[in-house]
């Protein structure tokens, strides 16, 4: 009997161990199906009324649906709703018939998104004091729901571009009323829904249950190693070009590229006595060899820029020339401006290694033009605070995800000095203000190109690197992650 008991105990222990290992295998089998996307910076806030960082906005595009989206030429197009201007100050939006329901954790509510949700979302933004998007909707006088599928936005002042502003994800009205924490527990009606958000952000595709996890890996080298070892399936952007080329040599990885639309530029302080002079600004523009930088230290499909909005944008009817590298001309312009050479300028940038790299190359290139550039690389908080306060001579930044020509007014309009807008260089130009008021975008673009309140640099190319078995994903011009809605893995 004792022997039997011993054998019974051993058998039971073996059975338990086997069961537990089966469970572990089961878990790993389940986990192996998930697609892991390595990102450099995790999203900060999944409430579309508050989100401003690129990662949050990209995830929010997948979790929520917005009324309006943009086509390849950046023209606003219907997404969740079509619209019609019923007067200069009123737009009627009609929601699509086949609308997805919200991702409620229980099946209590399966009703689709309604016009009430649209009203509640935009009403709540107007009420929020701390929403960075609230100012966008100052012009909204009233939102009227006429039926479940129709909503009318009444404006205080005529604004023909108003529909392009309605790109905020729609939230469920009843959860807004309950002051639900959408920042950490988003409930939308987009193609992906939140599963969990602890060390990594796990999302589930509503259509087929595919799990997609976003794992923050800050170091580019570690990100590449994880991709090569199969710990992650996909990564996009935020790598030095040398690592992208390195990945292209690896048989287990596919690299896809696309042209970019995000505009990189040198910002100038227009209150600086030296930089006020147009000839000095032109000299700086001619003192940068964009082609050499693009060819040697940038990813594929990077294009030199001549305007804030890319050439394919619907407002760009004429292609403007690129400022070519002409150090001799730059020097001559400086002398004509009465500048004693070398011209000493301070250039502020973040501590991001690639940004410092660009700065160092430009510093060397400008030397030939008689410009002595002092580089100050500051941590992001200090750098951005300095830029907003106008505490700079030159700085380098990138406009990400710009779609509408209203950016001209926001970035360069006389009335848009922070905190009212993004005119960080304190540029004041009555002629430009007039062109913007007339919405003469081609003339405004040409005027900016000629006056150079920004020194245009380039539109950085986009790329994504993925394991061979990953399919249906390609990088987009503005760097969004929309293809996570369709991404798949080949079955072995």
């Amino acid at each position: 009997m004792k022997v039997f008991n011993v054998f019974f105990a051993i058998g039971l222990a073996w059975l338990l161990l086997a069961t537990s290992s089966c469970r572990r295998d089961g878990v790993s089998a389940q986990l192996s199906r998930e697609i892991v996307f390595a990102i450099g910076q995790a999203p900060l806030n999944l409430d579309p009324r508050y989100a401003t960082d690129a990662a949050s906005e990209r995830v929010n595009r997948l979790i929520y649906q917005s009324l309006v989206d943009f086509d390849s030429q950046s023209k606003p197009t219907p997404s969740l709703a079509g619209w019609r201007a019923i007067s200069p100050t009123a737009f009627r939006f009609t929601l699509n018939k086949n609308r997805a329901p919200f991702h409620y954790p229980t099946k209590l509510r399966q009703a689709p998104l309604t016009a009430n949700d649209v009203k509640a979302t935009y009403d709540s933004i107007a009420l929020l004091q701390d929403s960075p998007h609230a100012a966008e909707f100052d012009n909204v006088k009233n939102i009227i729901v006429t039926d479940d599928s129709t909503v009318v936005f009444q404006l205080k002042q005529p604004d023909s571009h108003f529909p392009a502003k309605l790109i905020i994800g729609i939230l469920p009205a009843e959860l807004i009323a309950l002051h639900h924490d959408f920042s950490h527990a988003p409930v939308g009606s987009g193609p992906l829904k939140l599963l969990s958000w602890r060390n990594q952000l796990s999302l589930q595709r509503v259509s087929d249950g595919q799990t997609i996890s976003l794992l923050e890996v800050k170091d580019p080298t570690v990100r590449v190693l994880k991709l090569l070892h199969g710990e992650v399936d996909l990564l996009q952007a935020e790598l030095p070009p040398e690592l992208v080329k390195y990945l292209q040599t690896k048989p287990e990885v596919t690299v896809k590229t696309n042209r970019g639309a995000n505009f990189s530029y040198l910002g100038l302080n227009m209150q600086d006595p030296t930089l006020k002079n147009l000839k000095v600004r032109q000299a700086i523009a001619y003192a940068i060899d964009r082609d050499a930088i693009i060819q040697k230290v940038m990813v594929f499909n990077t294009r030199a820029a001549s305007a804030i909005l890319p050439p394919e944008h619907y407002t760009n009817q004429h292609s403007l020339p690129i400022y070519a590298y002409q150090p001799a001309l730059a020097k001559q312009l400086l002398l004509e401006a009465g500048i004693k050479l070398p011209l000493k300028l301070v250039y502020k940038t973040s501590t991001d290694a690639q940004r410092v790299r660009f700065a160092t190359i430009m510093q060397a290139q400008m030397q030939a033009a008689g410009i002595q550039l002092e580089i100050r690389s500051l941590d992001w908080g200090t750098f951005f605070a300095d830029v907003k306060q106008g505490n700079f001579q030159l700085y380098g930044l990138t406009w990400v995800g710009i779609k509408t020509p209203e950016i001209y007014g926001k970035a360069l309009g006389s009335q848009s000095v922070p905190p009212h807008g993004f005119n960080r260089g304190r540029y004041a130009d009555a002629q430009l203000d007039q062109l913007l008021a007339e919405e003469d975008w081609p003339s405004a673009t040409a005027h900016i190109h000629q006056q150079l309140p920004y020194i245009p640099l380039w539109y950085e190319g986009q790329f994504a690197a993925m394991r061979q078995e990953i399919n249906n994903y390609s990088p987009k011009a503005d760097g969004n992650w929309d293809d996570l809605a369709t991404i798949s893995r080949y079955a072995h």
């Binding site: 230290v297 290694a353 580089i375």
Partner: protein, 286 residues
């Protein structure tokens, strides 16, 4: 053997720095066609991520390291010795107050405090040295104060005091000479730790700014390209390691040479301590 190794490495680096100056190597010459190139005839140690000569930058970087280490060591030693002497000599409330300040500085890890100061002061060579000086004097103050407390009560000091010697004279003529050897050893170790601290701060972007060369910044850049140009980070890492090793070994050698407790050949030779004691006795008797 250790002595030879240490001085050979140190000598090598000193000669290399002089050679770099002699041949006028330009550490900031950018060549976009040579980005991350392997060692060849044009670039003996290869080129960095901007096509600059790694050798030229390495030599300019070691100059910066030496400069920072020497300046910071001298300043911190002066500061620490003065504070330690005052605390140890006067004792009482002065000692208590000064040592409490010292303890506050000691409570924080030195490098963390240096990072905090460098972040507040902003990046740059001068600010980097200030940050390191603010945090580096503590060990000298502690050491000096401890030794002064003991030396203060020595007979020769009391005798000189009885004979009417002024405080500065007591300190300069009768206490400081006996501290010198310990301080020299401490300074040697401090050189190595300051070099590491400088490299660490530059690695974090709080040190010398682009395009100036610094080993820490080079290490940081090299790590980014470890997969495509491992020679970059290896060259800088090994250089830093060799220099720190040489200075540390040199410090060990000096300690063995100057340590008053070190006896050689079982009493065949007098220890330095006993020689000093004899000298002191002699002085006191006169």
């Amino acid at each position: 053997m250790i002595k030879k190794l240490a001085f050979t490495i140190l000598g090598f680096w000193l000669i290399a720095v002089l050679a770099g100056r002699l041949f006028q190597l330009n550490p900031n010459q950018i060549d976009l066609n040579a980005i991350l190139s392997l060692p060849d005839n044009a670039y003996l140690l290869g080129a960095d991520d901007l096509g600059r000569s790694i050798l030229a930058r390495l030599l300019r970087g070691v100059e910066v390291s030496f400069l920072v280490a020497i300046v910071v060591t001298i300043v911190t030693m002066l500061l620490g010795v003065v504070i330690g002497l005052i605390a140890g000599f006067y004792g009482g409330k002065v000692d208590q107050a000064l040592m409490q300040v010292t303890d506050i500085f000691l409570a924080f890890p030195g490098i963390l405090l240096a990072i905090a100061f460098a972040a507040v002061l902003g990046p740059g060579l001068a600010n980097l040295m200030i940050a390191l000086c603010i945090t580096g004097w503590v060990s000298y103050a502690r050491l000096t104060r401890g030794q002064t407390l003991s030396l203060r009560n020595r007979q020769h000091v009391q005798a000189a005091e009885s004979l009417g010697a002024s405080v500065p004279r007591l300190i300069i003529k009768h206490i400081l000479p006996l501290l010198a050897s310990i301080l020299v050893v401490e300074a040697t170790y401090s050189l190595a730790s300051v070099m590491i601290a400088e490299a660490s701060l530059s690695f974090l972007g709080l040190g010398i700014q682009a395009p100036s060369a610094s080993w820490g910044a080079m290490l940081r850049d090299g790590v980014r390209y470890m997969l495509v140009a491992p020679h970059y980070v290896l060259v800088v890492g090994l250089s830093l390691m060799s220099l720190i090793l040489a200075i540390t070994l040199g410090g060990d050698y000096l300690r063995d040479k100057l340590d008053v407790r070190t006896e050689k050949n079982d009493g065949q030779k007098h220890s330095k301590y006993s020689v000093i004691k004899q000298k002191v006795k002699g002085k006191a008797c006169h």
